[in-house]
Symmetry: C2
Subunit: 255 residues, 2 copies
DNA sequence: TCCATCAGCTTGTACCAACAAGCTGAGCAG
DNA sequence: CTGCTCAGCTTGTTGGTACAAGCTGATGGA
């Protein structure tokens, strides 16, 4: 019957104990050597089992400290709020959302000019390797790295809206600034996928093994062509993206 | 300088060789003992490095076969297509999308009655533990497990639309059937997040370590209350969800 | 009191060994 | 030629050891 290898049994038992609250979020698991005694297994076997839980994102380990049970407070992200003159643009939306959630937003920012990758060129409908302007944000919530956001603008747009290529924030928001230049965003196309982080992403977001990233690619359109492409990466387990579509009058009613 | 532990160096070298095509998708890496010689490291250290690549989803291993470099053909999923009488409902959308992609759809199906979990109860605006009808699909693409879809209906809806609780497909689609009962879905609320699969999900979707799942929760509303809640899980790395919002006339034009 | 040091805990890295279990192709029996 | 077995490859599992490196609280000197 019991064909499961020992390290899986260890993981299964601990997983169940985490689920039922024996080990609460934020608390620490017994040490590897304690577990080694409890399960009558070598430290290697215990580590093997614990690494399963780490790769499931249930616990994280740190040298000298032990294994901590992770909590799962998700952050809601309203993605279908239309970005136009009436509503704030994406960057402001981040500040608004985070502040409304009672947390503290903070971001670093940089601008660079670089040739379009294949993905970006396709979405912006320009030739690959054409110059594009990249405006890059690294965002934090309560000083914890939360997301990176890279927005690419085609060079033709920068020609008519030169402030895009200047370092430094655009206070009124890029959407408003572009509208003032006669470029209005009338629609956008969103693509969402998830995968494990590259080492770079893991570093920027300070996430360990076992936490996937979500990739959110938004291509914005004027009435006649694409005007920007924004790629946002963030922790998949702590964020939830929301879309409201159609008539949702019934949603806000209290039963 | 070189403070990186050996097993990370191994992973970094192999990752770069996978990226630059030295090891193409579908091909196999050298065996652990070969790599052990090449890197002058013990087999354990090599395994440690390879497990990093596995957890990044770049390669997968199987006993007796070795390590295979994985490919990344993504499947597009149009999520904002409005589900109403004019357009087919979700289940049919799956058949349509898969067939259009030149692949073969196939699904198993079951119906059961069970008390609402907290998440479901909240979304359907019913009391927790109230009876709900679950219609569950396990979907395949070219005989590869692709997604699971669980749709929950509140019991009051089943009372007026009894066929929901009957096993077996509803040929005309549940949306059409419900509309015929006077229940029309006029809007929906989507929530998307990602995390590592539970052992159950890993089993159903036949995914190994290093592949996250995306969770897509859609709550459908009539004009006055929620009428269904659908939770879809699928591989995050092979699927991309799309939303079209606003005026996208410029998207389909060929430059 | 304050702060520097260190013992003693934790996990991280690296090696070795042995056997189990899955897959494949060579080669043999029919 | 067909089909079975098995040697020899692969990864999987489990045990062991040793030392490095990070964290914390106790200890003790200024």
């Amino acid at each position: 019957m019991n064909k499961q290898p020992k390290y899986r049994q260890v993981a299964d038992v601990l997983r169940r104990e985490i689920d039922n609250g024996t080990y609460a979020p934020g608390s620490r698991l017994p040490s590897e050597s304690d577990l080694s005694q409890r399960f009558d297994a070598s430290r290697n076997t215990i580590r093997n089992g614990l690494s399963l839980l780490v790769s499931e994102g249930l616990v994280s380990s740190s040298q000298g400290l032990g294994y901590e049970v992770k909590s799962h407070e998700v952050f809601e992200l309203n993605a279908s709020r239309f970005e136009n003159l009436t509503f704030p643009q994406n960057g402001d939306a981040y500040n608004t959302d985070v502040t409304n959630a009672g947390r503290r937003p903070h971001q670093t920012f940089r601008v660079e000019m670089l040739p379009a990758s294949r993905e970006i060129a396709e979405r912006l409908k320009v030739e690959p390797s054409t110059k594009t302007v990249l405006r890059f944000c690294h965002r934090y919530v309560d000083d914890v790295p939360w997301s990176t956001q890279a927005t690419y603008y085609p060079s033709w747009l920068v020609d008519v809206s030169p402030r895009l290529a200047e370092p430094g924030d655009i206070d009124e928001g890029t959407t408003r600034y572009l509208a003032a230049q006669g470029i209005e965003q009338v629609g956008y196309f969103d693509e969402i996928s998830a995968r494990m982080p590259t080492p770079d992403e893991a570093r920027l977001l300070e996430i360990g093994a076992g936490v996937p990233v979500m990739l959110w690619t938004r291509t914005g359109y004027s009435t006649d062509r694409p005007i920007r492409c924004t790629i946002t990466t963030f922790r998949g387990d702590l964020n939830r993206m929301n879309y409201e579509i159609g008539d949702l009058a019934a949603r806000s009613e209290n039963t």
